[in-house]
């Protein structure tokens, strides 16, 4: 779709010719993930996580539809229906464990995908919209995962719902009404479980829709690559099929090995045992924690302990949402023209500090709200915001980037190889020859 040298779809049989002039679906697939989509030839394995995320989403949708056939969304029966799935439904245990762990694996894959984008500058022009759609997907995923975690109506489900919906009561004046509107009562109850079930079923399809928009937006400039320089000609790319379909299948196999290993041998390792206790509105578990993938944000929420103009509670809520909303502005916070951190000697260090910082936040989020965790969490929260709001703008101004290769082909094959066949296939259009064209 994106580059002029992309292989054109040519229907080979009578039937495909007939279809192509009526519903060009095979052409669409050809251009989206087939030979008609040229991809930078040097992308590494970190570029496989987008496809893995797509597979993880499909696993969640399929196992989720199956679970919904046996689940019962009612305060009196929800917890028991999970046990019914585990014990009575044929292979019910399999689908539940795949769905439970599938959520965790979806987040693992997506977090790696996000950090890959941060490292290789995938959020920079002309891919800001691709990045922002990704942030939308992250927010939708968090909402979906949260509501899904409430459905089994165990202790962690109930108290998770209580804590997260109470976030909204921090809003001045209307907060409490919003909270009651969200849960449909004074506290999470039957009305909560039924609406969460409805939305938990809906949102994955919304995510799928945004994924389609994101892939569409991605196909206009095409992928970034580890050098961060744009594609200049046919010598820089390879068709998606068969080169990257094969590579993606290989990484998918590795992924499925890990996914299966955890789902079959450690199915509860990523969950919390308290969720096997039925919800009790009168007793909070001694130590409430969200699912692991929300821990860094939970740590940010808890980092505010003193009032300053507005209440500490509202600060925490604002900071937690801001930590993600901030990512929407990343393309403009980082003004460096160099995309890849491989050529940004200072940014590279700060990238790794950010990774460490997020791990620290996650670890603090899992700890009780006591010293020294509170202090550590506050420092890590401050650093998180400083990274995006102070360090990144300054670094992108003062940094002297390293010399980048002239082209992807030169980076991959060496300058000699490129010079040896200069006229064989001239770059069409040169730099910026990637003529943006809307996908179908």
């Amino acid at each position: 779709m994106s580059f002029p040298w992309a292989q054109q779809y040519e229907p080979k049989t009578e039937f495909t010719r007939w279809l192509d002039s009526r519903l060009p679906l095979p052409r669409f697939v050809w251009n989206a993930v087939g030979p008609g989509y040229p991809v930078p030839r040097n992308i590494n394995y970190f570029y496989n996580f987008g496809v893995l995320a797509g597979v993880a989403l499909m696993v969640q949708i399929i196992t989720g539809i199956i679970l919904a056939m046996h689940y019962s969304a009612h305060v009196d029966t929800a917890f028991d229906s999970i046990q019914h799935i585990m014990r009575n439904v044929n292979e019910g245990w399999l689908f539940r464990f795949l769905h439970m762990n599938g959520a965790s694996f979806f987040f693992i894959v997506v977090y790696i995908h996000i950090f890959r984008g941060l490292y290789y500058g995938s959020y920079k022009a002309p891919r800001e919209v691709v990045w922002m759609l990704g942030v939308v997907i992250l927010l939708l995923m968090m909402a979906t995962a949260f509501m899904g975690y409430v459905l089994p109506w165990g202790q962690m489900s109930f108290w998770g719902a209580q804590v997260i919906t109470s976030l909204f009561s921090a809003i001045p004046l209307v907060g409490e009404s919003i909270r009651m509107w969200l849960v449909g009562g004074f506290a999470p109850d039957n009305a909560t479980i039924t609406r969460f079930f409805s939305l938990h079923y809906l949102l994955p399809f919304v995510i799928l829709g945004v994924v389609i928009l994101k892939v569409w937006a991605l196909h206009i400039p095409g992928s970034t690559n580890p050098t961060g320089i744009e594609v200049q000609g046919p010598q820089d790319t390879l068709p998606f099929h068969p080169y990257f379909t094969a590579k993606d299948f290989f990484s998918l196999t590795i992924y499925l090995i890990f996914f299966a290993a955890v789902s079959f041998f450690l199915p509860n390792a990523l969950g919390h045992p308290d969720n096997y206790i039925p919800a009790n509105p009168l007793s909070t578990p001694a130590h409430i924690v969200p699912e692991w993938y929300l821990l860094p944000f939970y740590a940010i929420l808890r980092a505010f302990t003193a009032d300053f103009i507005i209440s500490a509670k509202l600060w925490g809520v604002i900071a937690m949402f801001a930590s993600i909303i901030l990512l929407f502005f990343l393309p403009w916070l980082d003004s460096s023209r160099v995309k890849s951190a491989s050529y940004r000697p200072i940014y590279r260090w700060f990238f790794w500090l950010l990774v460490i910082d997020v791990f620290i936040l996650g670890w603090v989020g899992a700890m009780p709200a006591e010293e020294p965790w509170v202090r550590i969490g506050q420092a890590a929260t401050a650093y998180y915001f400083a990274h995006f709001l102070i360090i990144l703008p300054i670094v992108s101004m003062i940094e002297t980037p390293r010399r980048q290769p002239n082209s992807i082909a030169e980076a991959v094959l060496g300058p000699e190889a490129v010079r040896a066949r200069p006229a064989s296939r001239p770059a069409e259009g040169g730099f910026g020859g990637a003529m943006p064209q809307p996908a179908e």
């Binding site: 209580q162 109470s166 969200l182 004074f186 506290a187 509105p281 929420l301």
Partner: protein, 190 residues
């Protein structure tokens, strides 16, 4: 056809461009009518998520407090929220009174939080004002926090013997619901 063309060119803008034309009016009227209609449809869609009539009907709860000894507390439920009913000991009352109210985050005295003449009956919601966990400290042997009242384990809010926030992220004191003493042993909440 010819008259159509004339209408279109007239709607397209006269050189003066200042006068309101019939078509502008139709656009605005259609848009406004559509907006009102959309609002009328959207409101029920939003409002259906608010608490339903049966949920709102849970009005009051009566509690028999005769068996609660000084130093003890019970949990009960009002509007599907937990409520702590606590019989304070003299020491706890003194501790609550000894605090300089001006140093508190949410400035209230024990007198303001209890019924006249019944300083020992501290009745509060068992809902942490931070994010809604049930604080510990009502049941025997639970952690009462650094100030001897309640302790919320979720994010570490400490409440004192008057249920006032003393340390941690919670913004306000534990909420005191409407309370009426029907007799010395019977309280109505709500």
């Amino acid at each position: 056809m010819a008259s159509d063309a004339k209408i279109i060119s007239a709607a397209g803008g006269s050189p003066e461009g200042a006068d309101v034309r019939r078509r502008d009016f139709i656009y605005i009227a259609t848009g406004a009518f559509g907006a009102v209609g959309a609002a009328a449809v959207v409101w029920p869609m939003i409002h259906q998520m608010n608490p339903s009539a049966d949920v709102l009907a849970l009005a009051t709860t009566e509690v028999d407090i005769s068996s609660i000894q000084p130093g003890q507390a019970i949990k009960t439920v009002w509007q599907s929220k937990p409520v702590f009913v606590r019989n304070l000991t003299q020491a706890e009352i003194d501790a609550a009174k000894a605090v300089d109210v001006s140093t508190l985050r949410d400035r209230e005295t024990l007198e303001q939080r209890t019924q006249p003449g019944r300083l020992n009956w501290l009745i509060t919601l068992g809902v942490c004002t931070h994010l809604g966990c049930v604080p510990l400290g009502a049941a025997e042997g639970e952690n009462k926090g650094d100030f001897g009242g309640y302790f919320c384990p979720c994010h570490g809010s400490h409440y004192d013997t008057a249920g006032r926030i003393r340390r941690g992220p919670a913004p306000t004191n534990l909420v005191v619901p409407p309370v009426t003493f029907k007799s010395d042993t019977l309280v109505e909440i709500g």
